[in-house]
């Protein structure tokens, strides 16, 4: 039991130690010189990290807004209704979750060059809709499957306007589930590597791209600190979602995509 939890934490340990080391040569088991330099570099605003953070947040925010506007209506339609053709729709929504991103990204890159949105933040945000829209649609359809539309009818028959019904009846019921979905959408977008690399063409450098370049060029201290910063939002999201969506497998499926 204890062993299991240690095994789960083991790969994070060297990241944490590297993040506070200055000199840590073989065969030292602990660093010979400690330093907070990497943390200062990661958390200070005046370097390429700040630019990468700005790119990441800009892309992920746009993705979250678009995916929510697109995925919530579709999730509502799927969660509340049986209709002819539903199986085909579900299959189309599952397909992008199952087929690996690399396989479609090469084709999409060709299309984006033609439309003139390759190598731009907009293009990267649009390509991030491929993994996020299906995920959010599925999650929201699960939320709506537990929602009883009779509440909306009652509110309307008691004289509430359509808008007031959405605001005071529907939103409080499905809001927490949708919020968690939006949060995970943000996380999925901000952790995309290969889609961003291909469609961004080196012009859009998000945090995962920067992390890879630090790790591959052997800047272990910075890579360690950046890795820990990178884990933090996901842990917070998990904590929040464990209250609202306990055992919701669609939400966990989203985490699997990170």
């Amino acid at each position: 039991m204890g062993l299991l939890l240690i095994a789960l934490a083991l790969p994070i340990l060297p990241l944490a130690v590297w993040s506070v080391s200055f000199r840590w040569f073989y065969p030292d088991v602990v660093p010979s010189v400690w330093s907070l330099e990497a943390w200062v570099a990661v958390l200070s605003p005046a370097n390429n990290l700040a630019a990468a953070t700005a790119d990441t947040v800009a892309v992920a925010s746009l993705v979250t807004v678009l995916a929510t506007l697109i995925g919530v209506p579709a999730g509502r339609a799927l969660g509340l209704n049986e209709f002819p053709g539903k199986r085909v729709v579900e299959l189309l929504i599952l397909a992008p979750i199952v087929v690996p991103g690399v396989a479609v990204a090469l084709g999409i890159h060709g299309l984006f060059i033609r439309y003139g949105i390759a190598n731009s933040r907009l293009g990267v945000a649009v390509v991030h809709l491929v993994p996020t829209v299906p995920y959010l649609t599925l999650l929201v359809s699960g939320v709506f499957a537990n929602f009883d539309t009779d509440y909306e009818l009652q509110a309307r028959s008691l004289g509430a306007s359509a808008l007031a019904t959405q605001r005071f009846v529907t939103l409080p019921a499905v809001g927490p589930g949708v919020a968690v979905g939006a949060l995970f959408t943000f996380l999925i977008s901000s952790s995309q590597y290969v889609l961003t690399l291909l469609i961004g063409g080196g012009e859009v450098v998000t945090l995962p791209l920067l992390l890879f370049s630090f790790a591959r060029s052997g800047e272990n201290a910075i890579a360690g600190a950046l890795s820990l910063v990178y884990i933090a939002p996901g842990v917070v999201a998990l904590w929040l979602s464990s209250r609202h969506l306990s055992g919701n497998s669609a939400a966990l499926g989203g985490l699997q995509k990170l």
Binding site: L15, L69, P73, L78, I231
Partner: protein, 295 residues
């Protein structure tokens, strides 16, 4: 309400459903299906913009006859299969071990699911700092007097057996499958197992004939997802794998970004093989479950 009214109401409801679905369907058809079709066309050397209007199978012939591709296909399948098998076994063991604790305390559940939130990229970097020949494990081996130099420590990263990649997948996917199994165990309770035990079944018999059939409906889809994911994943083999033979996604990316633009149709052909394989795995799985649910 007249029949005529009822009919138009139904039609209206149907229209509403499709209106709600349209934006999502547009995104999926234009980007996902469109991307696949564009890739397929390019893999068939069909590219009217530059005057290629006669589709052919040259790229597939070149790829399938290329030893680099065949070795890469073998390595990719080996990694996915091994990682999925080990994760599935460990996940069932961990779920059974954790069951009594998790049901009582949410904190254990939280800790077990914690590394679901760690991106694969971070996991891969952590594994390389842990298991490479200059890494923490190697240093501990030296201070324990087991090795003298980094080279004495077995190569576990960028190694021929892809151990680093498999360890990373097992580390990350065991909790994923484990949580699915735990959820099932929690929902069915322990009544069936107690009944089996009180009727004289041994521990192994109870596990084999009661527990396993109960968890399989969750275990199999979770394992299929892990197999399909690891088959098409890019980040982990990119960071922890050997240059050659590499996995199919890394190979496809490399051919695509090759300075020689003639390699592009071949990159597309490789990516079609990846897409086709994952589609095949999933449809085989769907056909199987439909077969069983019909009984």
């Amino acid at each position: 309400m007249t029949v005529r009214n009822k009919l138009s109401e139904n039609a209206l409801q149907r229209l509403r459903i499709w209106l709600l679905l349209t934006p999502a369907m547009t995104v999926i058809v234009m980007l996902f299906v469109g991307g696949l079709i564009a890739g397929l066309a390019r893999s068939l050397n069909y590219f009217p913009l530059i005057g290629l209007t006669e589709p052919n199978l040259d790229a597939y012939r070149a790829v399938l006859g290329d030893e680099t591709f065949l070795r890469s296909l073998a390595v990719t399948s080996y990694i996915s299969f091994t990682a999925t098998a080990i994760s599935s076994v460990l996940a069932v063991a961990a779920a059974l071990l954790l069951r009594p604790l998790v049901l009582r305390q949410r904190l254990f559940y939280f800790m077990f699911s914690l590394n679901l939130t760690v991106p694969h990229a971070v996991g891969a970097i952590g594994i390389s700092y842990l298991l490479s020949q200059g890494g923490l494990a190697s240093r501990l081996a030296r201070s324990a007097g087991l090795t003298d130099r980094p080279a004495d420590f077995p190569a576990l990263v960028a190694d021929p057996w892809a151990i680093g990649i498999i360890v990373e997948y097992v580390w990350k996917e065991t909790p994923f499958i484990g949580i699915v199994v735990l959820a099932i165990l929690a929902s069915v309770g322990e009544d069936y197992e107690s009944a089996a035990r009180s009727l004289g079944a041994g521990r192994w018999q109870t596990f084999r004939y009661v527990t396993m059939p109960l968890v399989l409906p969750g275990l199999v889809p979770a394992s299929v997802i892990v197999f399909a994911f690891t088959f098409g994943a890019f980040e982990v083999p990119f960071l922890l794998g050997r240059t050659a033979p590499t996995t199919l996604p890394v190979l496809a990316y490399r051919s695509y970004t090759d300075v020689d633009l003639a390699a592009r149709p071949e990159a597309m052909a490789i990516s079609m093989v990846i897409a086709g394989t994952s589609a095949l795995i999933i449809s085989a799985y769907l056909a199987l479950t439909r077969h069983y649910s019909r009984g």
